[in-house]
């Protein structure tokens, strides 16, 4: 049965494109040179000419024919013998190029540019070498080994992956490299391009012919904060790395609150001032080659409003006005009492303010603001019988108590002569003794202001800085919550959620981040790599955390050994058959001999 045309199918229809050769055949036929027909008067003349010419070349053709026949015979015999040639060629294999894209490659090199650029440049060079001797794969060393391009001999694909490598982040996981060495076959080699030395523990494991660590770039010496431990009145900060001594500065809104010198490899304690707010920054200065780990955000607990007990026997209108306007005083929770009755109430209030009150007995345990007041056992003595004018003569301008106070406008008409004792910290010293000071005993912590809050005594109540000074005194005196607050967590580290918390972080602006990834062992969630302050929820009482680059990979670092070339794979012997070459020679000789035979036929 003959199938119809519609039933015919093709298993390889791509060959049907060859039918385009049909017009080519027609075109060649039309374009072929045609024989011109020429009438001649006497053909024997032509024949005589040809005979003479052929007779001259006949002996040459004969000689050539003999040589061709010898060549044909020899070639045929050689073909039967199966000739081949052996030669050694460079070996080929698969190269896995692992490029360090961990956080540490952000460190700047000697030229000021991040060493990641040197790493990428070195990787491009190694790719060119690798594809010349086989296929290559590309992976990033970034919280493990992340595959980017699978086995290919096309360098452009590999280069394209390097052109857009993404941000350097994550840890340099040498364990993953060691695991990769086990995973790849014996014909593959692993090349790790990194500016840093492998972990000492893995050095021996990686010292294998299959694993070559190529160092790229020259990182600058640098140090960073690797640990922050919160305590009640301060933080304990550990700085690691290399380089000279630097300053650890506590800043709030760009203002330096306090600073302390620190050497890499040491731990320092830094006090948190009362006006540090809830979100100061710890900064190592000056900036080094890797500034990302020089700044640590802190999250401090929010301060509660202060309950104040005002102890006075006289009206205090200026103080009362300030109470109502103050943002730090719990007005409803505060109270007023007479000087003879305050002792039994002191424990119920955060701060006790004594106004123009000279106590004869030592003050009970507590925190006090003394306004033209005094008591025994304090490191300050006031002689109320000697009252007169005074003026500031010496001040600590950076002290938070007087930072906003314009002393030139502070005119003092009435003030008791005051004398400082040991343990008193004088903030503003006047011509009649300390005007503003702070001090403490075992039971008492106080801030003393020598003048009454009364325009008749001085212009202090009229100054705009007066309420600020009082607030600063209150804030300074009131201890923070006993709880130290949330710790500073390492970027990329683990976060353990508390009951009721969702694994979603919110920025201070209220934007939600992608949900946190749960760790494989379900022990927590992986924190983001970007340092900052985050909320664990969108409510006001949500827990706040600080994330910083602590103990990031990249330290310690060793000087690079310079650019290295890839060793070649073992050479191998290639056997190349000469059969095809001889076949071509044979075909050419046969064709030439056939042509000579045709000429012989025309003689």
């Amino acid at each position: 049965m003959i199938p119809s045309l519609s039933d015919i199918q093709f298993s390889d229809p791509a060959w049907l494109d060859a039918l385009w050769g049909l017009p080519v055949i027609v075109a060649l036929y039309l374009m072929r040179r045609r024989t011109a027909r020429v009438f001649v008067p006497h053909l024997p003349i032509w024949e005589g000419v040809l005979e003479r010419m052929r007779s001259r070349s006949r002996w040459l053709r004969t000689l050539l024919s003999i040589l061709l026949q010898l060549l044909i015979f020899t070639t045929a015999v050689l073909l039967l013998a199966g000739p081949y040639a052996e030669r050694d060629v460079g070996g080929e294999g698969h190269t896995v190029i692992v490029v360090d894209r961990s956080l540490g490659v952000r460190v700047r090199g000697a030229g000021g540019a991040p060493v990641s650029e040197a790493v990428l440049e070195q990787a491009r060079e190694l790719i060119s070498q690798a594809v010349a001797s086989g296929s290559a794969s590309l992976a990033f060393l970034q919280d493990g080994v992340r595959a980017r391009v699978t086995a290919t001999r096309d360098p452009e694909r590999l280069f394209a992956a390097l052109d857009d490598p993404g941000a350097a982040r994550g840890r340099r996981d040498w364990d993953a490299v060691a695991a990769l060495r086990v995973a790849v076959g014996p014909t593959s080699r692993i090349v790790v391009v990194t500016p840093f030395a492998p972990d000492p523990g893995l050095g021996e494991a990686l010292r294998d012919a299959q694993v070559l660590v190529v160092r790229a770039g020259t990182p600058q010496p640098q140090a960073g904060v690797v640990g922050v431990h919160r305590e009640a009145d301060g933080v304990k900060v550990r700085v690691d790395g290399s380089g000279p001594e630097r300053q650890l500065v506590l800043r709030r809104d760009g203002v330096v609150l306090t600073d302390v010198g620190v050497k890499p490899g040491s731990e320092v304690w830094i006090r948190i001032p009362a006006d540090a707010g809830s979100a100061p920054d710890l900064v190592l200065e000056p900036e080094d080659g890797f500034p990302e780990d020089d700044r640590v955000p802190l999250v401090l607990p929010e301060r509660q409003r202060i309950r104040v007990l005002v102890v006075t026997d006289t009206p205090t209108p200026w103080l009362d006005a300030w109470f109502k306007a103050s943002a730090v005083i719990d007005v409803a929770g505060s109270s007023r009492t007479r000087s003879t009755q305050f002792r039994e109430w002191v424990d119920d209030y955060d701060v006790t303010i004594l106004v123009d009150d000279q106590q004869e007995l030592p003050l009970p345990r507590g925190r006090y603001v003394l306004l033209a007041s005094g008591a025994p056992d304090l490191p300050i003595a006031r002689d109320v019988r000697r009252i007169g004018a005074s003026e500031p003569v010496k001040t600590r301008r950076e002290d938070p108590l007087v930072r906003a106070l314009d002393l030139s406008r502070w005119e003092i008409e009435k003030v008791a002569r005051t004398r400082a004792r040991a343990g008193l910290e004088v903030v503003v010293d006047g011509s009649t003794g300390p005007l503003i000071s702070r001090g403490s005993t075992d039971e008492v912590k106080f801030v003393d202001i020598a003048v009454r809050p009364d325009p008749a005594s001085s212009t202090l109540p009229l100054l705009a800085a007066f309420p600020l000074m009082l607030e600063a005194a209150l804030v300074e005196l009131v201890a923070r919550e006993r709880e130290a607050g949330p710790p500073v967590l390492a970027a990329g580290g683990t976060l353990a959620l508390l009951p009721g918390e969702e694994p979603v972080l919110y920025t201070p602006g209220g934007a939600a981040l992608p949900p946190l990834a749960e760790l494989p062992d379900a022990t927590g969630y992986r924190l983001p790599e970007r340092p900052g302050r985050y909320w664990l929820g969108d409510s006001d009482d949500a827990r706040r955390i600080a994330v910083a680059l602590l103990d990031h990979p990249g330290r310690p670092m060793e000087p690079p050994a310079g650019a290295q070339s890839l060793p070649g794979f073992p050479e191998r012997t290639v056997r190349a058959s000469l059969r095809w070459a001889l076949l071509w020679v044979l075909a050419a000789a046969l064709g030439l001999e056939w042509w000579l035979w045709q000429l012989r036929g025309t003689d």
Binding site: R33, R34, T35, A36, R37, V38, F39, V40, P41, H42, L43, P44, I45, W46, E47, G48, V49, L50, R52, M53
Partner: protein, 293 residues
């Protein structure tokens, strides 16, 4: 290809030819006595010389006056007045017809001119167009038009067969006169036997070799199918520069062979280029060939 008679010979050229006198000495005795005196002794009317009487002489020619004076028998001799014979053998083979019968045209014009001279001088002009024509004989100047008509009606065809054509064109016996062969002589040596035949028959033979320079030219670089115009045989050949040059040399060699053959047979040979003006060629030929005095 039909021609007009005026194309072969115009009146003005004919009048010029009339002033030429055919060399009688090269004309043979004809069938009747004519206008032209020959050096042959015979029964003519023009006294030539005396000679001693020998037995057998016609007694009518004894000069009896001389016998009385000299006492010796002298016989008067007279020159015979013969009718001159002109044999025109024109090759009209296919090779003469190449390129619009250029060679045949030139040959017919030459034959017309020479034949006209012969007829003007009362020669018996036999015109044979070979192959295939035994040739009529024209005997007076009044037959010039018929003679030209005979030439004009011919066309090139067939292969040149010199000897059979010449044998058919000549009358039996020894014939004295002038034979003029007009041909391109493209044959394989046959013309030599034919010319020898004419000489053997006693004709003062002239060979006018019609040459077309284009016969020796061929454009190299092409694959040609060469066709023999007379035999129809073919040959496929790619012609390169060397072969083209060799062919030109071979044609020239052929021409030299024809010339040397003619000279060896004491045949007057003249090569006529078809591009030459006919009138000048005719006059030159007649003078160089001593056919006119």
């Amino acid at each position: 290809m039909a021609r007009r008679r005026s194309e072969l010979l115009d009146v003005e050229f004919l009048s010029r030819l009339e002033r030429l006198e055919l060399n009688v000495r090269k004309l043979s005795a004809g069938e009747r006595r004519g206008d032209v005196a020959t050096r042959r002794r015979g029964a003519g009317t023009v006294f030539r010389d005396y000679r001693a009487y020998v037995i057998g002489d016609d007694p009518r020619f004894i000069d009896w006056n001389a016998y009385l004076r000299l006492d010796d028998l002298q016989v008067k001799e007279f020159e015979v007045e013969e009718t001159p014979r002109l044999l025109l053998l024109v090759d009209r083979s296919a090779s003469m017809g190449l390129r619009e019968e250029a060679k045949l045209d030139q040959a017919l014009k030459l034959a017309a001119a020479i034949g006209a001279v012969g007829l003007i001088r009362n020669a018996a002009v036999t015109c044979t167009l070979f192959p295939g024509d035994e040739g009529p004989t024209f005997r007076s100047r009044g037959s010039i038009l018929r003679f030209l008509e005979h030439l004009a009606t011919t066309e090139a065809r067939g292969a040149a067969r010199f000897l059979p054509s010449f044998q058919a064109a000549t009358p039996p016996g020894r014939g004295l006169g002038i034979a003029v062969v007009l041909s391109d002589f493209f044959d394989t040596g046959q013309h030599a036997a034919a010319l020898r035949f004419l000489r053997h028959k006693g004709y003062v033979t002239h060979a006018l070799h019609l040459v077309d320079p284009r016969d020796a030219r061929v454009r190299p670089g092409e694959l040609l199918e060469l066709v023999d115009v007379e035999t129809g045989r073919t040959l496929r050949q790619r012609v390169d520069r060397g072969l083209a040059a060799a062919y030109r040399e071979a044609v020239a060699e052929h021409f030299r062979t024809v010339e040397s053959t003619c000279r060896s047979l004491q045949v007057f040979y003249a090569r006529v280029d078809i591009e030459d003006p006919v009138e000048r060629a005719v006059v030159d030929l007649l003078r160089r060939g001593a056919m006119v005095g």
